[in-house]
């Protein structure tokens, strides 16, 4: 409806971004580029002023990060804005080698245990068969 601005329970897209001022935000660009930082302000073109920014550039060689104090980001190439910043990114980061070793040792332990159990049951049944015969 055109009267959406008057309704109290509906939030316009840019009002959402306005609520993010002063907090962390994650910006995804048209190209393989992302920014996270504290949003200080923006305008009608969604040009944004960000502080304590990390720039992520996804290249075939891996992700390149750059830290920037304060930037005015051109709104022309922005595709998506996600309130909250990089805590979402952290979920997507690959496991560290330490985590991988822990996980693999846990899995081997589990597999060995289940193998041992099944071997035990096999022996048990074998013995039962042997004695009944």
């Amino acid at each position: 409806m055109a009267s959406a601005t008057n309704s109290t329970n509906q939030l316009l897209p840019l009002e959402l971004i306005d609520k993010c001022i002063g907090s962390k935000i994650w910006v995804i660009m048209k190209s393989e580029k992302e920014f996270t930082g504290t949003l200080l302000g923006f305008d009608d073109y969604v040009n944004m002023v960000l502080e304590d920014v990390t720039e992520y550039e996804n290249t075939p060689e891996g992700r390149k990060t750059t830290h920037l104090d304060q930037i005015l980001l051109n709104g022309n190439n922005i595709t998506m804005l996600i309130p909250g910043g990089e805590e979402y990114l952290l979920q997507a980061t690959p496991l560290t080698s330490q985590q991988i070793t822990k996980l693999s040792s846990f899995l081997t332990k589990q597999i060995k245990r289940s193998l041992r159990l099944s071997l035990n049951t096999m022996i048990f049944y074998y013995l039962i068969c042997f004695y009944t015969l």
């Binding site: 200080l40 304060q70 005015l72 980001l73 190439n77």
Partner: protein
């Protein structure tokens, strides 16, 4: 209304604050231009002094003055420090 006065800074405020300061201008192509920002407008057209052109982290060129057309600009980056006195260079 109950919100505390935040350090909100709109793009136009940012632009007026960075004039005269050392900045990094990144273009969509990935090239960085470092220099003193002498003036700029709402299109992000930029005039830089003592410009250095950095490509893939390597200094490729130096220009005394440079004009950058705004449509190529990805971002303008400045240090957090507030406006500093220009260095005394004889």
């Amino acid at each position: 209304m109950q919100q505390p006065p935040q350090q909100e800074r709109s793009p136009t405020e940012f632009l007026s604050n960075v004039i005269g300061r050392p900045v990094v201008v990144k273009l969509n192509s990935g090239v960085d231009y470092r220099g003193i920002l002498s003036c700029l407008d709402g299109y992000m057209n930029i005039a830089l002094e003592q410009t250095e052109e950095w490509v893939n982290g390597q200094l490729k060129n130096k220009y005394g003055d440079a004009f950058i057309r705004g449509n190529n600009v990805l971002y303008i980056s400045a240090d957090k420090t507030r406006k500093r006195e220009p260095l005394n260079i004889q």
